[in-house]
């Protein structure tokens, strides 16, 4: 079971190309999970204890807006990382994450992984170097959305 998860972890873009023992370390903290349509993977305000390596299906990150219901602020899909707050700050989730379709993930126990990272700084640094670009990429994407690229007068033709 653990070996199967290690292979899945090693094949996920977040960890692809890292030494096999890194995948084993992550797999030791991980398990397969499945979510039905509309099921919450993470909930706003809850402790950020488990993050997910998405394998199949799409997930909507939502924020509740009084009077407007659930607003989708971003969607994630297969091969993406769901959950960053486990690594920084308050370690509480800042959004809900809802399955838009049947979703399969490798769920990773963040505290377990962080303990291993603290004990093995080489592993910890490798982990940080893989998560940081995801954060930068999402920050850049957010900045581009702030530009309102498709607003009046911004398009071709």
């Amino acid at each position: 079971m653990i070996e199967g998860i290690a292979e899945i972890v090693a094949d996920h873009p977040l960890f692809r190309g890292l030494p096999a023992d890194v995948a084993e370390l992550v797999a030791g903290c991980a398990r397969n999970e499945a979510f039905a349509v509309d099921e919450l993977l993470i909930a706003e305000g809850a402790p950020a204890e488990t993050f997910h390596l998405l394998r199949r299906g799409r997930v909507a990150l939502e924020i509740r807006k009084p009077g407007a219901g659930q607003l989708v602020i971003e969607t994630l899909g297969p091969d993406e990382l769901l959950g960053l707050s486990w690594l920084f700050g308050s370690k509480r989730w800042h959004t809900d994450a809802r399955a838009l379709e049947p979703v399969g993930t490798v769920a990773v126990d963040a505290e377990c992984l962080l303990r291993k990272a603290d004990a093995d700084p080489v592993f910890g640094y490798a982990l940080m170097k893989r998560v940081a670009p995801v954060m930068v990429s999402r920050l850049q994407a957010t900045r581009l959305r702030l530009l309102d690229l498709y607003g009046n007068g911004a398009d071709n033709s």
Binding site: V72, T75, P78, L147, L149, A154, N156, S157
Partner: protein, 281 residues
């Protein structure tokens, strides 16, 4: 890249009379207008080229052809109502006579990439100049894969949704995303380049066609280069202040390029990569 057409024969500075055959509203501020010649017809166009359209008494503006080359019937242009001329064109009732010059500029070079995997990335009304090329590419048989990524401000601003269904039925992988959505939207939210993470591209086989806001194209092209695409295999559609359409007046100059003649479709890389995002003269 095919050679530029139009502008060299001296006659393209004079508009031909075209009549509005029909109009179709795409979104709240985008309309597709179909034009048929009153007398002489303009030369055949290729996907990616543009016409100069005149609303008599108002002005002239460059509009990309959104129809499919070789399709019988009127020529389609999809126009966003953003100024006086585009307002007049997009509100012209059926039967109105407009002026048409062209076609001008370079095209997407669909014939050159018939056997390649093709990735199309379009933002907003930038899908219009690509629509004809996508129709042509989606009709290929037994050749490369076709992937179409579309970004828009919101679900209500996604254009050509019927066309997207046709492309899917023909085997294309069509993904849409919006910057912001109201509750109830079940599609994707995020900028169009985030969809690249869901694709498995063969960089050696893939040609990319990009059209949309220049910032979007600049970031998309950079992401594609990071994924291993040769900049020479990325084609972008650039627009500046097209006026004469014939490479004479210089209003559309971007560095060494006169985009009405050397563009709008140019190969990304080298000077173009540096020029993307520069202010027009």
């Amino acid at each position: 890249m095919p050679a530029a057409r139009g502008g060299a024969d001296g006659t393209s500075l004079y508009p031909l009379a075209y009549r509005v055959s029909w109009r179709r509203r795409e979104t709240a501020d985008v309309v597709t207008v179909a034009l048929e010649p009153v007398g002489s017809a303009a030369a055949a166009y290729r996907a990616g080229q543009f016409h100069m359209l005149t609303a008599f008494g108002v002005g002239e503006v460059a509009i990309s052809v959104s129809g499919t080359p070789g399709t019988p019937g009127p020529v389609e242009h999809t126009i966003r109502d953003v100024g006086a001329v585009s307002h007049a064109l997009s509100h012209a009732p059926e039967g109105t006579v407009l002026g048409l010059r062209g076609p001008f500029g370079t095209d997407w070079g669909v014939e050159d990439i018939a056997d390649r995997d093709v990735l199309v990335i379009a933002g907003g009304i930038g899908l219009a100049p690509l629509r004809g090329a996508i129709h042509q590419l989606s009709r290929r048989r037994g050749t490369g894969a076709l992937t179409v990524l579309v970004g828009a401000r919101g679900p209500e601003q996604l254009v050509f949704q019927t066309d997207m269904e046709q492309w899917r039925e023909r085997g294309a992988n069509v993904l849409c995303t919006v910057d912001a959505a109201a509750p109830g939207w079940r599609g994707d939210v995020g900028i169009v380049t985030t969809l690249l993470a869901r694709l498995t591209l063969d960089p050696q086989r893939t040609v990319a066609l990009l059209c949309g806001p220049e910032v979007m194209m600049r970031f998309a092209a950079a992401d594609l280069v990071d994924l291993g695409l040769d900049p020479g295999q990325i084609r972008v559609s650039l627009e500046r202040n097209m006026q004469c359409g014939a490479g004479i007046c210089g209003h559309c100059q971007l560095g060494p390029l006169l985009l009405c003649r050397d563009g709008p479709v140019v190969t990304y890389g080298g000077a173009v990569a540096d020029l993307l995002g520069q202010q027009e003269r």
